[in-house]
Amino acid sequence: MRGTVLYETLRRSWKHALYWGLGIALLAFYPFLMMPNTPEGFQQYVEIAKGLPEGVLEMFGMSDIAAIGTPVGFIGYSFFGYILLILAVYSVIAGLNVSAVDEDNGSMDILLSLPLPRWQIIIEKIIAYSVIALVIALFAFAGFILGAMLVPDRIDLEWHKYLIGALAILPGTIFMMIITAFIGTLVRRRVTAAVLAGAFIFGSYVLNVIGGISNTNFAETMKGFSFFAYLNTTTALEQGVTIESALALAIISIIFAGGAVILFERRDVSV
């Protein structure tokens, strides 16, 4: 039956979705609590940022220090600067759950004995975990809105901008999940898959940081290979991600999802 794996995955994951959503909503809400209420207050943050090494600034996506002195820039850096690293944990867990966990603990045997094509297991689980990622993003949106309601006099942004900003975390989150799912179908063992996926994400993050610090063309080019580069922390809250970035990540995600299906269809399972 079509949709059964999707439904079952959502049924089993709703609590996790709730916990993740609440956590991310808190992280979206928190910067509003910390937001200064005077221009001097913002300037203090700018001064602190200026005192930090370039590498540290780049680690949190602070390529434009002056922007931290604005409410939108402040929220952007305080949330988007690290949120993908946190969501990487969700993505890796979800990606492993696509096939590697069931295969590693032996429950894939009983699942495959059901009248289910292998592709359906992979595709419906990827869709389910993408839906959960969307729910988490909507929780982030709720966190933004609640935060904005807390300080209406300090930030003036239309509600749909918050929605665009919250949805900006989706492409990277889903991309990381699909990459992990692909690695899971390739290596079968969850620990190995987790280590490889973690290495890929960390490597991509390092490329992004080094590309931001270094002035060489090579570093700039390499930064383009980092999926972290698609999220501009300065503009994410107002503009979300660019169509080109979202499209590029979506295409790569679809290719890897297809690769995961092909690998899983063709090979021996649970050997």
Partner: protein, 324 residues
């Protein structure tokens, strides 16, 4: 003529093809299981039983040869075939935090419906609580939920990998009855085991697999015709009647150790009991022969005792005992 439900032709699985140490788990298996029979698939651990079952279910793909179930290729028509199959793996690993009833519902949804009344009836027969989480079940109870999941959709074919392991003797009787009821409906069972005694009551035929090769397919009647038992008698004083015991028809391989005597016996027990009680018997144990022993006895009687173990040809039971 009966329909062939499972058919394999030169089915072979070699792991590590292209590596320095390829390992052939199953070699040229030709097997037919017909409708309405219970076929036991016997062999020691590592003989290739699970590999065969996993190929039948399309979990792993053969290196060469092919297999059909219900006349359809197991790979190309796996979804159609799985609709009509109930499967119990040797090691059932379900989602630990889920309750049995939730898993039953999930499987019903995947199969497009189900018979909850039948599930409850099975649970009652097996004395099984459907409302517990998987992590809270004992090994025996995990086998029970496995059986329920295999039977709940009224399949036409059951493929069971070591179904009786972990079941207590009472539950084994319940299991046997379930299988006989299933067979009475004209349905087919293919089950693996490494202990003939556990399945001989219900199997019509058994296929014996050794070192990845099918050695024989026989009716249980034929196999157990050569059946024998190991008997150990313990007396309250040193054994004085060894020669009398040795003289009983069907007794062989007799060994005396202080107050005990151990021997093999084929045939009726009455002559033995008449002689054995000439001394005071403290204890008597009767041990079923291992599958290897039955197999060797079977082929020995047919004048073909050449069975290989680790590349060495074994000519006698004594040799086999020595290596085991």
């Amino acid at each position: 003529m009966s329909n062939t439900i499972i058919h394999t032709e030169a089915l072979t699985k070699t792991y590590g093809v292209g590596t320095k140490k390829p390992f052939t788990a199953l070699s040229n298996l030709n097997l037919n299981v017909v409708e309405g029979e219970i076929m036991g698939f016997l062999g020691p651990n590592g003989a290739g039983k699970t590999t065969t079952i996993r190929m039948l279910l399309d979990f792993i793909r053969p290196t060469s040869g092919h297999a059909q179930i219900f006349g359809k290729d197991v790979h190309e028509h796996s979804v159609d075939i799985h609709r009509r199959i109930g499967y119990l793996p040797a090691e059932l690993n379900l989602w630990k935090n889920e309750t049995s009833i939730n898993i039953v519902r999930y499987f019903m949804r995947v199969r497009g419906g189900g018979d909850m009344a039948y599930v409850k009836q099975l649970a009652e027969q097996l004395e099984f609580d459907l409302n517990k989480r998987i992590r809270d079940y004992s090994t025996g109870n995990k086998r029970k939920i496995g059986l329920i999941l295999a039977l709940m959709h009224h399949p036409d074919l059951l493929i069971l990998d070591e179904p009786t392991s972990g079941l207590d003797p009472l539950m084994q009787q319940v299991f046997n009855q379930l299988m006989l009821d299933f067979k009475a409906q004209g349905k087919t069972v293919f089950l693996s085991s490494h202990v003939l005694g556990e399945v001989q009551e219900i199997c019509d035929r058994v296929a014996i697999l050794r070192h990845g090769k099918l050695e024989t397919v026989e009716t249980v009647k034929n196999l157990t015709h050569v059946d024998f038992r190991w008997v150990t008698l313990t007396y309250n004083e040193p054994v004085r009647i060894a020669d009398d015991l040795r003289a009983i028809r069907g007794v062989s391989d007799l060994k005396v150790t202080d107050n005990s005597v151990k021997f093999r016996i084929t045939g009726d027990f009455h002559p033995l009991l008449e002689v054995a009680t000439r001394q005071y018997v403290v204890n008597m144990t009767i041990q079923a022969p291992s599958l290897e022993e039955i197999f060797l006895a079977f082929y020995g009687e047919n004048g073909n005792g050449k069975i290989a173990h680790n590349g060495k040809v074994i000519q006698s039971e004594r040799e086999l005992e020595a290596i085991s």
